[in-house]
Structure formats: C-alpha cells, structure tokens
Amino acid sequence: MEKNLKPKLTFKRRLIQLYAALLTNANIKGFATGSIFKGNSKNACVPGLNCYSCPGAVGACPLGSLQNALASSGKTVPYYMFGIMLLYCITFGRWICGFLCPFGLIQDLLHKIKTPKLKKSRVTRILSYFKYVLLVLFVVIIPLAYMFKDMPLPAFCKYICPAGTLGGAISLLIHPANTGMFEMLGPLFTWKFALMISILVGCVFIYRLFCRFICPLGALYGIFNKISILGIKLEKNKCIDCGLCHAKCKVDIKHVGDHECISCGECISVCPTKAISWKGSKIILPENEIPEAATEEEKTVITKKREKRVFILRLVAAVLMVSTLAGALVYYNFIYEEPEISTDIGTGDFNVEDFRGKVVVINFWGTWCSGCKKELPAFNKVASDYADKDVVVVTVHTSGTEGWEEPEVYIDKNLKGSKMLFVRDVRVEGAAYDTYYTALGGPGTYPMTLILDDKGVVNYTTVAELDYESLAAEVEKALAKDTSGIDTDNLFEGYVVGDLCPSMDLEYIELIE
C-alpha cells in the first residue's frame, strides 16, 4: 500500500509543478518573438523563482522585485513588496518550493538523471545555512548600501541567480532578433554562465543543490515555514521518533516541517503512526469519524460518502485548474495585445525631425539602470567633442523613475553643463512601457542607443553598453555617410526614423538651474 502511495504523490506533485511553471510562463509567444511580456499582470509577483526577464514570464519575480524595492527604498517605502512577501510566507511558506517554483522543478528533473548521488550529511546541513548569508548580504545589505550611492544594484540577480541566466539572459539571447545583445557579453556573463552550469550539473548529483544551499527566496520562505498556513505538519503526540521520515527526506531537515522542509510530502507515507500530514487538510476534508458501535454496513456508507466528497473536490479542483491554465494560455498568446503605439502623441517641444541634416545619437536610459548610468559619461564626451560637427546627442529618460532619483536631480549632480539634450519618454494610455522607446524597436532592455544619419536613417542600433571609442567610431561612420555597417536584421537599422514615429513630441526635462 505504502509503495503505491509514493509514486502517486510524486506524480501529482510533478503535475502541479509543471502546471505552475506553465501558468507563470504562459506568454509562450514571447519565446517566438524574443521579447518580454509588458502587460499589467507584471504588477503582481509570482510565488516561485521565475525571472521577469524571461520572455514567457507573465508576472514579476519576487526576489528580483524585493531587491529592486529595497534598492529604491530611499524614495518609496517598499510596503508593496513587504506585503507580497509576507503574504506568500504566511500562506504557503516553503510549500512554494515543493510545488510551485519552476526552478525547483528543473532541479527535481535534473536529479532524476540516473547517476550516483551525494546524500545529505552533517556537511550539507552546515552548508544549508549559507543561503541565509546570501539572503542578508546579496538581497538586503548590498542593495541597501548601494541605494545610498544612488546606484541600483540587485546583487543576487546580477552576480548569482542562475534562474536569471537561464530564463532571462539565455532565453533572450537564443532569439535571432536579439543578436545585438551578444555585443554586450563579457566577464559578468562568463561568470554567471559558468556558475549556472556548475549549479545545474551539481543538481544532477546533489538533490536541489540551489534550493538547499543558495536560494535566498527559499531561505526567506523557510523562516515562516513553521507558522505558514499550508505545508507539512508533524503531530508530536503521535510521533514515536523512529527516524524514518528524517531518513526518507532528501533535504537537510532536523524535524519535519522545519525551515529546510520543502513540504514535498514524500515522508507522509513512511511514517508508521501517521503523525505527518498536510496542514489545513482537515479543514478541507475532515477525517472520518466512524463510531465504534457502527455496523459494517454503516461503516461502508460513511467511507463511501467520504470517497464521494473526495471525488467531487478533486473534480472541482481539476476543472478550475485546467480552465485557468487554458484561459491564461489563450489570453496571453492570442487575445492580449500591447496597446497600439500611436505615433502622434506627446505635447513637448522635442521632435527628432527638427534635427534633419545632423547626425543624431539617441540614447535611452533611466536613473534606475546602472548600466545606463555607467555609459552616460561617454555620450557626454561625444556631445562636447562633436558639438561643432553637426552631431546632436539626445538622452531619452524612461517616463517613470521606478522609485529612483528624478533625472533632473541626477543630471544636476553628474552632468551639469552638458551639451546633450535631455528629454523624457511618453506613455500611451494603458501601456506599462515607453512609447518612443518601443516605436524605435526597444526590446524591453536598457540601455539602448540609435544613431541616425543626416537623412534620418537609422544607421546603428545597440542594446549593449558603449564606451567612448566605440561610440565615437559609429558617429564618425555616420558623419562619413558610411552605410556599410547597416544590418537590416538588427532592430530598425536602415529605416527612416520619421516613418517609425512621425510626430512624437517629447518633453524636455526641466533642468535645475
């Protein structure tokens, strides 16, 4: 009997994991277009580690959002993220790890590969505390510390997260439309790629290596595991301390349901006294109270009744789940359309058409984007060095600041007296993204730079960070009317900018005197 139970539970868990992974990555068409989803459902965070820069993702990653919220907490108190995290922690705890997290599923599947395995030991138990160090250091301290330097730095995302490398970076890179992104790959990508490969290979030999030793999100959920509403519980008065659950469990628990337990439920079937059960299961499905004096017939009736309830509950759950998933897949892939970009919006005084006859460098940036801020000095230098050669450098700040410094404050501090023009992007009603940026081919990643020649033709585009030399070289090319580098596969190179955004009038940023 026990033997039968196990595969059944594992199978069901796998199904739920797959289901959750599909539901939170329902924007399948994103993989086909190579761009990320930009709709309003990204207002909400998904429960598991699921990178928001993955083309399929339809929600925000809780860990990435938390780091960004902390990194911008100087301006907006991150009540929203605190609330979301508390909600997930208290409702699910690490049940999310066992059932809902896509990266947990990937690790589970990798561990299925038949090789000799390294089992838990005292060493792994000690190592399991490492994730708490990472949580404090990379998710809390570093982002907060860099906030004081006005530098957004989600340190875990940037230096460690393999889910980001796999779901975000690699999924985007694979698509031909993003070929330009290869230009920006360097030491950081090499490090993160090697780390991701090491973690994935490690997961083949060590059960959930990332979850047990590295994941700060699991660490956070673990802290609330004992009091979370869902999960696994141990009834101490029934437990005879036989140690079978502990032996069965593949993670570094001390007790069932503690901060390491991922609520997978595998130990339920091995407990000889049935001391382990799902939390809250009795509310949904109270246990059968069969009176002692009941006849055989009455007992069968009671048992049948229960079986019927179980069946109905399952049926309802299955129908709800299937329809939700089907609905999400249809909505995200066939119904949802990004609000139409109207090409004649904006009430400002800046229109790129006014600069016909000059070479125009357009740089898209944001004070929340550390890469953008890093490359601005190069643009500033080009603006001064080429000021008398009919070259205009325009920087377009995103319409929102995402809780970061206002651009005018940043410019006042760092770019005072610059020859660059500073304008702000606009947004179409109902859109979550910037219109000018999108009209000029922005795939959702920042920074982005375009260079137009004197006829307004897009000569060069890149989503990579630029240094002075490469930028100056491209400007020189445009000045010399050298069109040999135009790659029509790459974003909107070769198009006339006026056709892309005929009359978008952006507002100049009011500079502080």
Partner: protein, 260 residues
C-alpha cells in the same frame, strides 16, 4: 555484485561522467571565448562554432539519460541496494540513540564504538588533507606574479590550480566515502542485532510524554501576519510601490540580469 546492480551502477557512472564532461565543456567554451583576447568576445557565430564541439557530449548525455530510464524499467531494482549509506542506516541510528537514553547498557557495544572511532579519524585526516590542499592553492594564487597585461594567463593559472586541487581533494574524499559507506553498513548490521535483542523496550511508547501545544496562538499569529500583509499591499498600491514593481518587470536593466 549482482549482475543487475552492476548494470545500474555502470550506467550511472557513465552518465555521471558524461554529465560532468558536458558541463565542463560548456564552461570551458565560455571561458575560452571570453579569454580569446578580442575586444568583443561573444558573437552568435563564435558561440555557434563552440557549440559544435559541445554537441557530441550533449547527444551522448541525452542517450545516456534515455538508456538510464530504459534500464530502470527493464531491470527494476530495489532502491536501497543502490545506496551505500542507506536511508535505513540513518533511521536505525536515530532509533538506537533514542533507546540508548533508556537503556544505555543493552545498546552499548564495543564494535560500534570502534567503527565510529575509525570513521572519525578518517574524517579528521580528510579534513587535514583538504585544508593543506586549500592552503597550498591559496598560496599559489596569492604569491603568483600578477601583471595587468597578462591577466588572462594569471586567471587561467589560478583556475588550473583550483581545478587540480579540486580533483585531488575529490579523489581523497571519494576514497574516504567508500570506506565510510562500508563502515556504516557494518554498523547498521550491529545496530539491527542490538535493537532486535531489546525490542521489548519499544513497548513503552513515547506518546504519553509529549502533548501537542494548542494551535490557538499560532492561528492568532497567522491571522495577524496575514492582515498585516494585506494592509501593506494596499498601502503599497497607493504609495507607488506596485507601479515600481511593474516598471522594473517590464523594463530590464541588462546588466542586472548578468548580460554584461
């Protein structure tokens, strides 16, 4: 070794080797591309070129994984036989520890003490070897000659040292593990024997000693935290926190996801 177990064992080892090779070849390819010396090391073409070398490992790996699955179904095996330091052993030890509290005499045994003493010694020896290796590697890394112009060579030298140390350390640890597993199996037998001999002790159930604490305070805590979470979310919607989450999720700073 039984033939069936042998088949499983060999498939497992071959798959493990292939997985390691695949991982290694991917990581090395990235390193070679990056250290290749050009200013813009990565391009779709270069990556494609290197993936050609990795592909055979990938295919072999997939084949090995598939054969592993096939073998699992064609020659089913009881799982415990494959586990050197079996789950059962851990459970037995825990059981023994519990019973030992009640009847230390009946369960103390010379042989067990001996086994665990040897294991401890081997652990200490292994720790010492690993520490020496670690210190040696650190010295090589710290005392090396660093020249900014030759930084790639220096990094490769450090990487090679780390790799060599990891290899030697891994080999030592594996040998130690084989001994430990054998010792654990011997100990499990002894414990089983001992536990059988004092099974009567088991009858005194632990149940009466423990009483579950009433979950009322827990429910109050849950409800309060839940309410707090909802309040925070509502405040967050109005103070712009939610818009910030959306803004960051639809506009990606490439450096922040490691594209840099």
């Amino acid at each position: 070794m039984e033939k069936r177990i042998k088949i499983h064992y060999i498939t497992g080892l071959v798959t493990a080797a292939l997985v390691l090779l695949l991982g290694l070849s991917l990581a090395i390819s990235a390193a070679v591309i990056y250290f290749g010396g050009t200013e813009q090391p990565y391009s779709r073409e270069t990556v494609g070129e290197y993936l050609k070398y990795v592909l055979p490992f990938g295919i072999l790996c997939i084949l090995a994984v598939i054969s592993g699955i096939v073998i699992k179904f064609v020659f089913p095996l009881e799982k415990s036989k494959l586990l050197p330091q079996s789950d059962e052993f851990r459970a037995l030890k825990r059981q023994r520890a519990r019973l030992e509290k009640k009847n230390a005499e009946a369960l103390s045994d010379e042989r067990i003490l001996k086994e665990s003493l040897y294991r401890k010694k081997i652990s200490i020896a292994l720790l010492a070897v690993l520490s020496i290796l670690g210190i040696a590697a650190l010295l090589v890394a710290l005392l090396g000659n660093y020249d900014a112009a030759l930084i790639n060579e220096s990094v490769i030298r450090v990487a090679l040292t780390v790799f060599a140390v990891a290899l030697i350390g891994g080999a030592c640890a594996y040998v130690a593990k084989i001994y430990m597993a054998a010792s654990a199996r011997r100990e499990a037998e002894i414990i089983k024997e001992l536990l059988n001999s004092c099974e009567s002790l088991e009858s005194s159930s632990a149940a009466e000693e423990k009483v579950d604490r009433k979950p009322l305070y827990m429910n109050i805590a849950r409800a309060s935290i839940f309410a707090l979470a909802v309040v925070f979310i509502v405040i967050g919607i109005f103070n712009g926190g939610m818009a910030d989450v959306l803004g960051k999720a639809v506009r990606i700073c490439t450096e922040c996801i490691g594209l840099g």
